[in-house]
Amino acid sequence: MIKNIRPDNYQHLLTLIDQETFYVFAGGTDLMIRKRQWQGAERRFDKPIVYISHLRELQGIREFNDHYEIMACATQTDVAESTILPEYVKEPISKMATPPIRNLATIGGNVVNDASVGDSIPLFFALNAEVVLRSVHGTRQLKMHEFIIGKYKTALAQNEILEKIIVPKEEIDGFHYRKTGLRKASILSKLSVYMLYKGRGKKLEDIRVVVGAVNDIPIRLRTAEKSFLENRDVDKLVDAYRQQMNGKDDKRSTKEYREEITCRLIEYFLGEVLS
């Protein structure tokens, strides 16, 4: 029988994962599906499970002078309905899954799973977010784009927990977000485009463009963003993103559809920002 452990507290959890390899179980909305079995049967777990969603140290959203902290076990509903987070953080999360799933699914789970279709990750790329990883031996803080290193592949060590996500507070004047799928709710994105900006039209001061669900990891081209602020050349920026797209046909969509719609969305959003 597979061992199931409900740690008494955070320190207990850190000690456990330092000694043994576990499935770290937060909301379970992904893991319970991956390990599914017939009705009534035990899920198909092949190594011990340690549960973390009840640990208070990993719950909630906090506001500080210059940043927000989204704890790993904050649910998608906690974020989507937060009274302290700005709309440009809440909106993309509110488009994920369905209400009952958002009540269980955690933000940390979406990031650590690191699926190429994880809809929270492009958002965190654009927000210059960082992750705090903790083990019994100490903490590490990495930028989100350093943490996400491939499809289903992060920099998280076996004895570490993603504790929280740090989102800097910044002057953002607006955002655009669009994802496409076969229906609005509970769907794996074919593609997504998230754009943040400060100023607009001739007074545009900052622009960030992130493409999700096309490549294995989100695409953000900082050099191209910077060039755009100087030359305002929409075609050039769209082309820079097009060059980086290397997805392939799969059950969600075709490569051609994905790339074409992504480019059109970037172009449309840039047009709105420049108007």
Binding site: M1, I2, N4, R6, F25, G27, G28, T29, M32, I33, R36, Q39, G40, E42, R43, F45, I49, Y51, S53, H54, T77, A97, T98, P99, P100, I101, N103, L104, K184, A185, S186
Partner: protein, 156 residues
């Protein structure tokens, strides 16, 4: 195995179970509460939704670890309330039940909407029901039933 204690439809209960066993299976097998259905088994169809501490959740994705010391309300618990009767009447009047398999989940999602909004937009109602799939595709009558409930609240 663990002794998991929680409140089920208003009563304190304890069950000897694995922490990874799904709440859905415990409800149906240990407590014989078979109003909560298993459709897809992966959180897509909403036939299994219950309230956990007042939040609508998919019991097919919920391990018993998440239920420890919490409050669970199933369709059987909701059926004892006056509000359930209003929802049932609205569903019957609108002809919102065909095969009936999705109905417990739809009723629970309707209760969620009634708790969350006083006067929801059509889009909010659709979003509130977006976690529930009707395999007979009788969505229009279900939407009519839910809208009627809010109109009745307005007329009171």
């Amino acid at each position: 195995m663990h002794n998991v204690s929680f409140i089920l439809n208003g009563e304190a209960v304890t069950v000897d179970t694995s922490l990874s066993k799904r709440l859905l299976d415990v409800l149906r097998e240990d407590f014989k509460l078979i109003g909560t259905k298993e459709g897809c088994g992966e959180g897509e169809c909403g036939a299994c939704v219950v309230f956990l501490d007042g939040e609508l959740v998919n019991s097919c994705l919920l391990p018993m670890n998440s239920v420890v010391d919490k409050e669970v309300l199933t369709i059987e618990g909701l059926a004892k309330t006056n509000r359930y009767q209003e929802i049932e009447d609205a569903f019957v009047d609108a002809g919102a039940v065909q095969c009936g398999f999705c109905t417990p989940g739809m009723v629970m999602a309707t209760e969620y909407l009634l708790n969350k909004y006083k006067r929801p937009t059509e889009e909010q109602i659709q979003e509130g029901l977006s976690g529930n799939i009707c395999r007979c595709t009788g969505y229009q009558t279900i939407l009519t039933a839910v809208k009627t409930l809010f109109e009745e609240v307005d007329s009171l």
